[in-house]
Symmetry: C2
Subunit: 421 residues, 2 copies
């Protein structure tokens, strides 16, 4: 709570009119973390915008009053947070803290946010060429920009996450769509899911073999099938009915993934875990997934996830991505989550819904909840990561591997892309 | 909390030696609810057994001390419960009540319990013939007896729930296995899942067409595939590899289900919801599912669910049953859950994990949590029911339809089978 209050102070606030004036110099502080240097088209864009407070444009007095009020709220909330922590420490009763910064009356905030991942795993800097790293970064930036543009013009988080994931699906570097890994039978089988936090409607697809953009079929299932989850040939027949292009399995052939399958098979034959690890350069070979979570200007959350699964998986294996509540979940009252990693462990730990439940029922912050659930996955023996966003625009990107391809739009509208810890 | 403490007092307690002596005459009170009159082979069986308290056999003094101690705990817990309720009502902090009756030290309880369902829906007494009702009841009783025998001899809850579900899968009256409903393409496609509450390992199968007992394939996936979820032909190939008999689709043909498909199709053609309802005699035609949850003598929970899905579903549609956290979930620290109903809504509400989360994070009782989650499903527009059991042997069987085929072994070892509200 205390940190949430401080974050409130640190956020960039901008009144709707005039567009060039902005509050909160302190907001720049949060932008310092990892600037990637890529500024989107709108230089003057600020992540958090206050509207309706000063319809005629604020005076200096308004601005001062606004700052004072924010400080007051921050102090009140910090105290409440400290009290809540004290209560947690002294008794068995769990304090669910209410009154978060954005719950303040008359603070109608027009905000949006976007976070992406391109898979978590053993990504070692020493084994990554500069060229390859540039390609990964460029892919994530393209996806960020695609989603960002949609959100900026007032589009929905559903549209933004779907579009961002499509970009990653089309990029052979990521294990989804075009770059999907191979099963033990040398086929490509893909899963995906999308969920709307406003209505809790969801769509999921599994074991697709001929769909270029599984995330869009998941969305179609959500909107047109009357079902939530469809798999295999039935899902593809449904796609055909609705004019979605089916592609040959050849479309999903990439030399790199094929070699990864051969390496994993060779490692399995040698039957030594150590040798297996030596064969695999990055866990992208084993398990990668792409995903996006967003909050749009209407405060609606959405999550999208798409994957080729794990290299050398048995045909018919379904991972956590299309399991609503495991790899994908969105709920306006809490958060949107997309996971990546050892899918089996993520299903068993019902990761995505557990993050939401810890926020809703225990009053945890997004960061606390996300880390707590990832710790549970680790305790079961699983590795990976997740991305999450709440309706206040807070984000969390925890992972327990050496790297996770990830990116987000920071509070100043700058794009941040990272790979390693 | 208060009622939990009272329940503790009302439970039948029995010391391990000598076997004929028993505490707690009051335990009979709980048995009065709905005795079906079917007593299993072991007439002297009592649901709750205390062992190790009095290894040499209790004296009258021991028994009196035991009663006094139980009363003392009950009073303490009742007070704590009242306090917790008061706290909930006076402030935003949610009180997670700890110190449940069975958390008392030195009370090693050798208990087991089993609950089954055979689907929830519009089951109207007026439309049920006595003969048909007898057949449903007999099926549920056979399944109960099968699971009960396993638990009684110290078998695992995994074994008991799997075996009980197999009996229902083999019974053409229930929508799973033999009695699976037809898809819109006239095929039968089945889903199933099993979960072990002790280790959180799980197995799930979807869109099976040639597996006589999907629940056993779910178990095999859990134990031998290295995966959690498998679907379609991949899952069936895995089954064949492991010697599971594949059957022709003809095996799943039942006249009744075929007629149900024709009725639903005719109703859809007429495009009037009212006509549709008139055509369908029971919601078993539309959605039925079978499931079992149990706690074994080692205190381990398990859940098993199996279904043919919904009549006239699109081929490839996957329901909530095989979605871990939606239709099936088990966790020793909370509960085991198996759901039945409008699968799409149950996935969106992540029903089974939500019951668990409300118990773990909000300190709700099993009954409160189960009802609360079912209410959420109803709010989304879904109907159905669920069965749940916790490690203390408390059970919940809420449903929001006019009936749910269900059964359980009551605290006196009597079998209770019910259909209507």
């Amino acid at each position: 709570m205390g940190s949430a209050a401080l974050m409130c102070l640190m956020r960039g606030h901008r009144v709707a009119h005039p567009p060039s004036q902005s509050f909160g110099e302190a907001s720049r502080a949060t932008a310092a973390a990892h600037p990637a240097g890529i500024t989107p088209e709108a230089f003057d864009f600020q992540f958090w915008m206050l509207r309706s407070e000063f319809p005629g444009g604020p005076t200096q007095r308004d601005m001062n009053l606004f700052r004072i009020r924010n400080c007051f709220f921050a102090i009140v909330l910090f105290s409440a947070g400290a009290l809540a922590v004290a209560q947690e420490q002294t008794g068995p009763a769990k304090a669910v803290s209410k009154g978060k910064p954005d719950d303040q009356p008359n603070m109608e905030i027009e905000k949006f946010g976007l976070v992406l991942h391109g898979g978590a795993g053993t990504i070692e800097r020493s084994k990554m060429t500069p060229e390859r790293e540039r390609e990964y970064r460029a892919g994530l930036e393209r996806a960020l920009m695609t989603g960002y543009k949609i959100l900026k013009r007032g589009g929905s988080s559903l549209d933004a996450t779907e579009a961002a994931v499509r970009v990653l699906e089309d990029d052979p570097h990521f294990n989804a769509g075009k770059g999907a890994v191979f099963t033990s039978a040398g086929t490509n089988e893909m899963d995906a899911a999308i969920m709307d936090g406003k209505t809790l409607v969801a769509g999921a697809v599994a074991s697709l073999r001929h769909i270029k953009n599984p995330i869009s079929l998941a969305r179609l299932v959500m909107e047109k099938s009357g079902h939530v989850m469809m798999d295999g040939e039935g899902a593809e027949a449904f796609a055909r009915e609705h004019g979605i292009e089916l592609v040959d399995q050849k479309y999903f052939y990439t030399q790199e993934r094929w070699e990864a399958l051969e390496k994993v098979k060779a490692a399995e034959k040698s039957r030594t875990g150590a040798a297996g690890k030596a064969f695999i350069i990055t866990d992208q070979d084993r398990h990668g997934t792409v995903g996006a979570v967003a909050v749009d200007r209407n405060g609606n959350l959405a999550a999208s996830t798409s994957t080729g699964g794990t290299t050398n998986k048995r045909p018919g294996r379904v991972g956590d991505s299309p399991v609503i509540g495991a790899g994908t979940y969105a709920n306006n009252s809490t958060c949107a989550v997309s996971a990546t990693g050892d899918g089996e462990y993520f299903i068993r730990a019902t990761v995505a819904h557990d993050v939401s439940a810890l926020m809703e029922y225990r009053g945890m912050s997004l960061k606390e909840a996300a880390q707590s659930v990832l710790d549970k996955v680790a305790k079961l023996g699983g590795s990976g990561g997740l991305i999450a966003i709440d309706r206040h625009g807070n984000i969390a990107l925890p992972f327990n591997t050496s790297g996770m391809y990830r990116g987000y739009v920071d509070p100043n509208g700058k794009f941040v892309v990272e790979i390693y810890k």
